[in-house]
């Protein structure tokens, strides 16, 4: 349909405008990860003395975490926005137009990605001002933005799927603690190879979030680590593909009224 790009743009614009008009939805995803960054970088400074620790700067090591936390917030915001549209009947209004379901999904995700870029640029700026130098240089920053886009797309689509299945903003928000468990049981605070052989190391190794963090981290502290990037991109792409497919299916089900 010829108007689809226009529709995607307007729906994405609506998503951005809505978020910007709710200051809590902007400040939270920006401030909370930066606050945790400050706390962690102060508390975990001694880690840099561990043999084999990949960086002399704990800030550079920890800087990967806000990106994934920010993406988690994006999941919540995208999901709760769509759930609200379902609850208020706005989705029914949209579905009475010739709009395609894919335009709605892409529009919502487009808005999420736009806000994700704002988050990413803020995190990069804060890191740079605090003295972090990207080991992969400017090209690495660009790759990071591409990677982060994919991560936000994946998490955002998970939020859409949850919203479409439950139709409830509260249910979507209920996922937040669960996602945070994934974040904390990961290589967020310490490299996996420096963890002692306990259930935690096994869990972190099995946890896809570890590889997303390590993908970002590799660009900041290592340079060009093909394995870390391949795993990060691969996992993000797989999660995105599955989540988008599930969202599209759920939207179709919901619009069919079944």
């Amino acid at each position: 349909m010829s108007v689809a790009p226009d529709q995607v743009y307007l729906l994405a614009r609506r998503s951005v405008v809505r978020t910007l008009r709710q200051p809590a939805n902007v400040i939270g995803p920006l401030i909370f990860p930066l606050f945790l960054l400050a706390v962690n970088s102060a508390g975990l400074r001694a880690e840099t003395h561990l043999p084999g620790f990949p960086s002399h700067s704990i800030l550079a090591f920890i800087l990967a975490v806000p990106f994934i936390q920010g993406a988690l917030f994006a999941t919540m915001n995208t999901g709760t926005d769509l759930a609200r549209d379902i609850q208020t009947g706005f989705l029914s209004r949209l579905s009475l137009t010739p709009m395609r379901g894919t335009a709605l999904l892409l529009g919502q995700l487009g808005g999420t990605i736009t806000l994700g870029w704002i988050q990413a640029l803020v995190y990069i700026a804060v890191g740079t001002i605090a003295g972090v130098r990207f080991a992969s240089g400017v090209p690495g920053v660009l790759v990071l933005l591409v990677f982060y886009t994919l991560v936000v797309l994946a998490f955002g689509a998970l939020g859409l799927f949850a919203a479409l299945r439950t139709g409830s903003g509260e249910a979507v928000q209920g996922l937040f603690p669960a996602f945070f468990v994934f974040l904390f049981i990961s290589s967020m605070a310490i490299p996996r190879n420096l963890m002692t052989h306990t259930w935690f190391r096994d869990a972190a190794t099995a946890n896809p979030v570890s590889y997303l963090i390590e993908g970002v981290r590799s660009l900041i502290v290592i340079g060009w680590d093909g394995e870390a990037l391949a795993l990060g991109f691969g996992i993000a792409a797989v999660v995105a593909a599955i989540a988008i497919a599930l969202s599209a299916w759920s939207l179709q089900q919901r619009l069919a009224g079944s």
């Binding site: 226009d6 729906l11 405008v17 208020t88 706005f90 029914s92 579905s95 009475l96 137009t97 069919a256």
Partner: protein, 331 residues
């Protein structure tokens, strides 16, 4: 069938673990007609609208809207219709103008038409001054008017309005009625309007379908439906309750006695013109009454006659349905 019509045959909708919300509805709405779908809460009005607007698949039966099957040709139906559903489905964080621009785009209006069309509709529904305010600051009436404007963006041939005036003050309600009448009269739009307000169905609809428990129990013009029930009645309440028999005897000259909650009643033989004669007869006999009321058959009476109970929420509207109520203070 003409392109602006609505037709349903044996339309049924069942919900899991629930009753049949719609239980075999047949209806035919002619092009340019305002069809009032009247019934109490939970009667099946909104479910019917959801099916006719393609938002809910029927369990069985068929429906064609604008000449298209609602199940097999849903996208064609959606192009032909506009709908303002029961809850004004608006985004509280967007302005009225932003809603209209988004809707115009999603309805695929040519880019150069979007702004003029939005301005035209804002003007028509009286929201020009509030166009750039966020919807969360709108009153209920403003939201309803914006909802109507959004439904009209793409100039639909058929308009579905699901309880469009519920919760509105009388001014907003009247303004919306005027716009609906104008759409039907000037633009030939077919209007399918659900309501639980007797007055709304009475004054606005060309024809009324009364629905109860998912079934249409009566259908016709408001006048024909009321005429079907019978002639007007007069109720007199004597000042002295001991005069009830005398009052009944006087009233009996004008028709057959009928039940009255507070005094004596008569179903008029000829029509409401007899009211003046009744006043004169009471006066001649020196019988003082504290209240004398002419009761025209209302759609509530139709509902009562067809279902054996009064329409929910009819109390408020009952006053409006009575024409020529007359109270006489004792002389």
């Amino acid at each position: 069938m003409s392109d602006n019509s609505i037709e349903a045959r044996e339309l049924v909708r069942e919900f899991k673990k629930g009753p049949r919300a719609v239980d075999g509805i047949d209806l035919q709405v002619e092009p340019g007609e305002i069809y009032g779908f009247l019934g109490p809460n939970g009667a099946g009005k909104s479910t019917t609208v959801l099916m006719l607007t393609t938002l809910l698949p029927p369990t069985s039966g068929t429906a064609r809207v604008g000449g298209y099957d609602v199940v097999k040709e849903g996208s064609e139906v959606r192009k032909a219709i506009g709908a303002a559903l029961q809850e004004a489905a608006l985004d509280p964080l967007l302005t009225g103008r932003e809603h209209l621009r988004l809707q115009a785009s999603l309805q695929a209006l040519p880019r150069e038409e979007r702004v003029p069309r939005a301005n035209e509709l804002l003007e028509r529904v009286g929201l020009t001054d509030a166009a750039d305010r966020r919807v969360k600051g709108y009153s209920g009436g403003m939201k309803r008017r914006l909802d109507l404007a959004l439904a009209l963006v793409h100039r639909p041939r058929i308009l579905f309005l699901d309880e469009p005036t519920t919760g509105l003050d009388i001014q907003s309600r009247t303004a919306l009625w005027d716009e609906v009448r104008r759409l039907a009269k000037d633009e030939g739009v077919t209007v399918f309007l659900t309501t639980q307000y007797l007055e709304e169905a009475d004054v606005l609809a060309d024809r009324v379908g009364i629905i109860d428990h998912g079934r249409i129990v009566a259908e016709g013009t408001p006048g024909a439906l009321k005429a079907e029930i019978g002639r007007p009645t007069v109720e007199a309440v004597p000042v002295d309750p001991g005069d009830a028999d005398r009052a009944a005897a006087i009233l009996a000259r004008f028709g057959e006695p009928c039940a009255s909650a507070h005094g004596v009643g008569v179903r008029l033989r000829t029509g409401q013109a007899d009211l003046a004669e009744i006043v004169r007869a009471l006066d001649r006999e020196g019988l003082k009454v504290e209240q004398l009321q002419l009761h025209q058959p209302s759609l509530d009476d139709v509902f009562l006659a067809k279902t054996g109970r009064s329409l929910e929420g009819a109390d408020d509207d009952e006053q409006d349905g009575r024409v020529g109520a007359l109270a006489m203070e004792s002389a």
